[in-house]
């Protein structure tokens, strides 16, 4: 059976070239970079080279990159680490299109006396700039937005939100997790204080991430220990992981244009094929979207059933249906975009990677129509409409 993996947003393979670069740092250059002796020097060099490679991806300075264990830690460090300096500013602003880890961190901070508010979003899953400008004010400590919705793929007006945040004197954190390997981002172009980058989402090793911290940003650590990473991330460094992330960032930057164009071609083909099925519609913005994201809702059918049928046919995807979530709640992003509960129910997320081909896309569009037909034939809501 042909296997087609269209769930890049959930996990991607580590590039072989990356693994190759990592290996010597496990078996040969295994010293501790904090050691003064020769055996510490090699890993230290590798670590600093990688820091520069990650910094280059977003045109930052190497010292502005703090390596972490992944996007979740970066997000926690960005939000929790800056709050002690927020003084009388008590409002954290996030959005309903953010990743769960942003929402969970911000929600947890409510118990320590901070308010949490959501930026308004429109029907495309884009933050509404006009309405946001009134809400981000001088009581706002930090604004956290993703560069792109991880679910519907809509690219966000980061420049405008940056301007509004800066005018209000609030910090801005941008989550680059989903976009970093496919859409360029430049910290000299967008005024941002903190930015999260995830290694596995660059096709680097898992368990690695980084937080960009603009020079001069006041921030404290979450962990106490040996004071590594400018005191912001204590613990002996995961040098192989850093080297892998650096290599992935370098390759991502080199191939960015080619990657995006290739993904856009596949994505548009996929969206066209899927929306040809009657009563199916694209979720998210038609053009301002991640090159690798196609999120489509099929009316009268439920996502988990479709997901399982696709799985039985060798295709891996994800869904925003309530039935497939631990909480049995429909996707917050989709509901915030104004979709009805039933519409969120039939929404599927197809996310592509550089390893996907046109034949993968054709395979999926080919079987999707049959699956939807079959499930609709069992649906009591179908022919009653």
């Amino acid at each position: 059976m042909k296997r087609v993996y269209l769930d890049a947003a959930t996990s991607m393979p580590t590039m072989e070239a990356v693994v190759k670069e990592m290996l010597p740092y496990m078996t040969e250059n295994y010293g501790n970079p904090s050691s003064i002796h020769e055996m510490g020097r090699f890993p230290r060099d590798g670590m600093e080279r990688s820091r520069k490679e990650v910094a280059d991806l977003i045109s930052a300075k190497p010292e502005e990159i703090i390596f972490t264990s992944g996007a979740t830690e970066s997000i926690n460090l960005a939000l929790r680490g800056t709050l002690p300096f927020a003084k009388e500013r008590k409002k954290i602003m996030i959005s309903k299109i953010c990743h769960r880890s942003v929402r969970a961190t911000a929600t947890a901070l409510k118990t320590s006396g901070h308010d949490l508010e959501f930026l308004p979003i429109d029907k495309f899953g884009m933050i509404d700039v006009e309405r946001s400008s009134g809400i981000i004010d001088n009581g706002t400590s930090i604004v956290s937005i993703p560069f792109a919705s991880n679910e519907v793929g809509t690219l966000q007006p980061v420049r405008e939100i940056s301007r509004i945040s800066k005018d209000a004197g609030a910090l801005l954190h941008i989550d680059l997790t989903m976009s970093a390997f496919q859409v360029p981002f430049d910290v000299t172009d967008v005024d941002v204080d903190l930015a999260t980058i995830s290694s596995p989402d660059l096709m680097g090793p898992k368990g690695m991430g980084a937080l960009y911290v603009r020079n001069g940003t006041r921030i404290t650590s979450l962990l106490q220990g040996g004071g590594q990473e400018r005191g912001l991330r204590s613990g002996s460094e995961n040098v192989p992981g850093m080297v892998g992330m650096g290599a992935a960032a370098r390759i991502a930057k080199e191939r960015m244009e080619e990657t995006s164009q290739g993904l856009i071609d596949l994505r548009d083909h996929l969206i066209n094929g899927l929306t040809e099925i009657p009563h199916s519609n694209l979720n998210g913005h038609p053009t301002e979207r991640l090159p690798n994201n196609a999120n489509v809702r099929f009316e009268f059918v439920e996502g988990e059933s479709m997901l399982l049928m696709l799985d039985m046919n060798g295709v891996s995807i994800a869904t925003g249906s309530a039935c497939a979530q631990k909480t049995l709640e429909a996707s917050k992003t989709l509901l915030a975009m104004g979709l009805k509960h039933e519409e969120a129910h039939g929404s599927l997320m197809f996310t592509l990677g550089p390893y996907n081909t046109m034949s993968d896309v054709n395979h999926v569009t080919g079987i999707m129509a049959e699956i939807v037909d079959e499930l609709r034939s069992m649906s009591p809501t179908f022919n009653k409409e």
Binding site: A108, E302, Q325, E329, H345
Partner: protein, 153 residues
């Protein structure tokens, strides 16, 4: 997303659901909505001499909802009304060789659908069987209130 550990039996019923459809001249129809996740299920029955002669279903829901309704129709087809009334979700779940705990509510829905159909049937005969009437609270609460996730020090 949830990790789905469906039994072979559930997957088998999901792949080849029994008794799908709608009986045109049904003697009883039960339609229920799932208050937990917002799904829908419809059962139609043909009843003769206090026996379920035929039963068909349609479900808008997850694999577990489809499999449990399919299983339920298989169990009660050919049974007397009395036997059908006594059916519990345990019987359905047992027939399916278990369900992931988070999916048990879907099997409750299937049983509710059957009871509702039977309630409607008796009512059409002028009998008010309150004991068969499922209590309907159909609002799947999508409140804005954020759940607190762990304390912070």
């Amino acid at each position: 997303m949830v990790r789905l550990e469906y039994s072979k039996k559930v997957l088998e019923h999901f792949k080849n659901p029994r008794n799908v459809g709608e009986i045109e001249d049904a003697d009883a129809v039960g339609t229920v909505g799932n208050p937990v996740c917002g799904d829908m299920m419809e059962l139609s029955l043909k009843i003769k001499d206090d026996m379920i002669e035929d039963i068909k279903f349609r479900t808008f829901g997850c694999a577990s909802a489809i499999a449990t309704t399919s299983m339920l129709t298989e169990i009660v087809k050919g049974k007397t009304l009395k036997e059908a009334e006594d059916l519990t979700w345990d019987d359905v779940v047992e027939g399916l060789e278990g369900l992931p705990p988070i999916k048990v509510h879907c099997s409750l829905l299937a049983v509710d659908g059957l009871k509702k159909a039977l309630y409607e049937y008796y009512r059409s005969k002028g009998i008010d069987r309150q004991d068969l009437k499922p209590n309907e609270e159909d609002d799947h609460d999508q409140g804005e209130e954020e759940k607190e996730v762990g304390p912070i020090v």
